[in-house]
Subunit: 346 residues, 2 copies
């Protein structure tokens, strides 16, 4: 990846899929989680800003930048809940990694698939610190584009091999079951959220509607469980009844952002929450006992994308899973941009 200054390595959707499959989905998820864990340990080094959002009636377009002082990364991501009606993804994304020292981009990559992977890796990483010991059963409520990635991450990192799936659209659940067939899960399709949570030590909520919905009511949440709340991720979009929040110990990525976008937008602005990085770095306790209800109120944070970008950059080195993009003007003499243009006349 050294060489001509005009070139930026580019990982297309096709190459991302090939890279993930060449490494193996589970190994990729484990590697991603390790990169995220490493970056969460050095959390204080990072330049943190809430994402920059451009809202419209149809959805949102966001830029999520961060930097560790040496490397800069940002992700472009949209969220348009009605997109599926036109055959489009609700969420698409791409990202860029750049060198802080000279400002030159050093990776451009698709991040639609990568975001699903990093979200799942972050969820499983949080659960490693927060879920009850020896959990085997996970309910997954919302069986859309993220569901299988969550299942794979929880199996490889926590040994979860029994799934209880529920979606208001039965076809989504069937798609999940089809995709996960032969991958070693014991799967139960459930007709309601109430049925899905029965016997589950972990409950993952990952629905997509942009509205304040109540996917889980308080009576469904028993003692000792871990809730992995993934789908409440923008203002006006929540999944959990506030009573559940009041009974839980709540863990978040970056509290200034989560208070705006997460489940805790339903709570008082000073309601106590713990940032996950503090648990990982040993500054705060994760799960304390068997009766505690823990909630990871996940909205997705720029550092997770940064970790994913640097992991991909490390992994494509020496492979053929990228193209060379002629993205940066590189005149023979740096000040001679105009001369370069004239000489292109050929």
């Amino acid at each position: 990846m050294q060489g001509r200054l005009n070139i930026v390595p580019f990982v297309s959707v096709d190459n991302m899929m090939k890279l993930v499959l060449a490494i193996g989905i589970e190994r990729f998820l484990t590697g991603l989680a390790a990169a995220i864990e490493e970056d969460f340990r050095r959390w204080e080094l990072f330049d943190k800003t809430p994402r920059i959002a451009s809202h419209s009636a149809e959805g949102v377009i966001e830029l999520m930048p961060t930097s560790d002082g040496t490397t800069y990364g940002f992700k472009y991501v949209n969220g348009h809940p009605r997109n599926t009606r036109q055959g489009r993804q609700t969420v698409t994304a791409f990202g860029v990694l750049a060198d802080v020292g000279n400002g030159y981009p050093m990776l451009l990559t698709e991040m639609t698939i990568l975001t699903a992977l990093r979200t799942a890796a972050t969820s499983a990483l949080a659960a490693k610190y927060l879920a009850p010991k020896d959990a085997r059963v996970m309910a997954v409520i919302g069986n859309g584009a993220q569901a299988e990635f969550q299942a794979m991450a929880f199996r490889t990192m926590l040994g979860i091999d029994r799934l209880r799936l529920h979606d208001i659209d039965r076809a989504a659940t069937e798609k999940c079951i089809r995709n996960l067939a032969g991958l070693g899960f014991d799967i139960t399709a459930c007709g309601s959220a109430a049925e899905a949570v029965q016997g589950a030590q972990i409950v993952t909520t990952v629905t997509a509607d942009k509205q304040n919905a109540t996917i889980l009511t308080d009576n469904l949440v028993g003692r000792g469980i871990h809730i992995n709340g993934v789908g409440g991720d923008c203002p006006g979009k929540t999944e959990l009844h506030p009573d559940i929040l009041l009974r839980s110990d709540i863990f978040v990525e970056y509290s200034p952002q989560t208070r705006i976008e997460g489940e805790i937008q339903q709570l008082a602005p000073d309601h106590p929450v713990t940032e996950l990085w503090r648990v990982i770095a040993g500054h705060a306790e994760g799960r304390r006992g068997a009766d505690q209800i823990t909630l990871f109120d996940s909205v997705g944070f720029a550092i997770e994308d940064f970790s994913a970008l640097r992991y991909v950059r490390e992994r494509i080195a020496g492979t053929g899973f990228f193209e060379e993009l002629d993205l940066l003007a590189d005149p023979d003499e740096p000040r001679d941009l105009f001369g370069m243009l004239l000489r292109a006349q050929g």
Copy 2:
């Protein structure tokens, strides 16, 4: 540019040069200026935020987003003054245009060359409203990567055909003279800024050092001239002595940004300035008379990049000057991202 949902048209550096040359540099600049003028007329429609900057000891990396409610655009741009020492550009950039309705990117393009063009087009557009009538002579102080673009824009839009060039590095001036030879300019190389401004009705300052420098002192600025101040564009980087500012009527792009980044960072925060769009839309006066000193304190604003992006998107339609980038995951069934990944196993 319709078609498969995974594809985003990409304009490489090579294709940008071919596109500009196929259209013609002067026609391209005129077209760009017209797009900017049109967008400045509907200024109030745009979502305006100051750029999001990540500063380091070596320079800055910025994201500049904006939206007109229908289309969203952003530019990634760095500024690293010491880059030329390693053969790199001080400023490189790329940009993206997206559909607000579904959040899908619809153009990715190099913007290093495009930024030089849009900066020059904006300068000449401002001068159309602010420079003295019948100006023929322009001093250009700072003969780096931007200089020839400025010269070309001022000739095609204002009829400037006599240039007085100065740079502390004589080699830069010689490069300019070489590049502009045969393009119809009468050029004088000047040993000092004082010499360069003699007889000039327009003075363009476009130096690159990241420091508060005094390229022009007060005694050099005679009555009636228009100053096109391009090089003072970030905190701590200015080119003009504050006394010049106090004698000038000052025009800016977006005052909240210019007060931080422009020449006027040297003035009181309530010093009166006029936003250029108000002149273009007929809400404020431009040049009032022959004795007035006008200053366009230009720092570059996201709307100019938006205009440039949409102009490029319009102009590549039906040409071969773009590639198709496989940037967006597009499963047959939108929720079946995981299935798409599995099926790539082939």
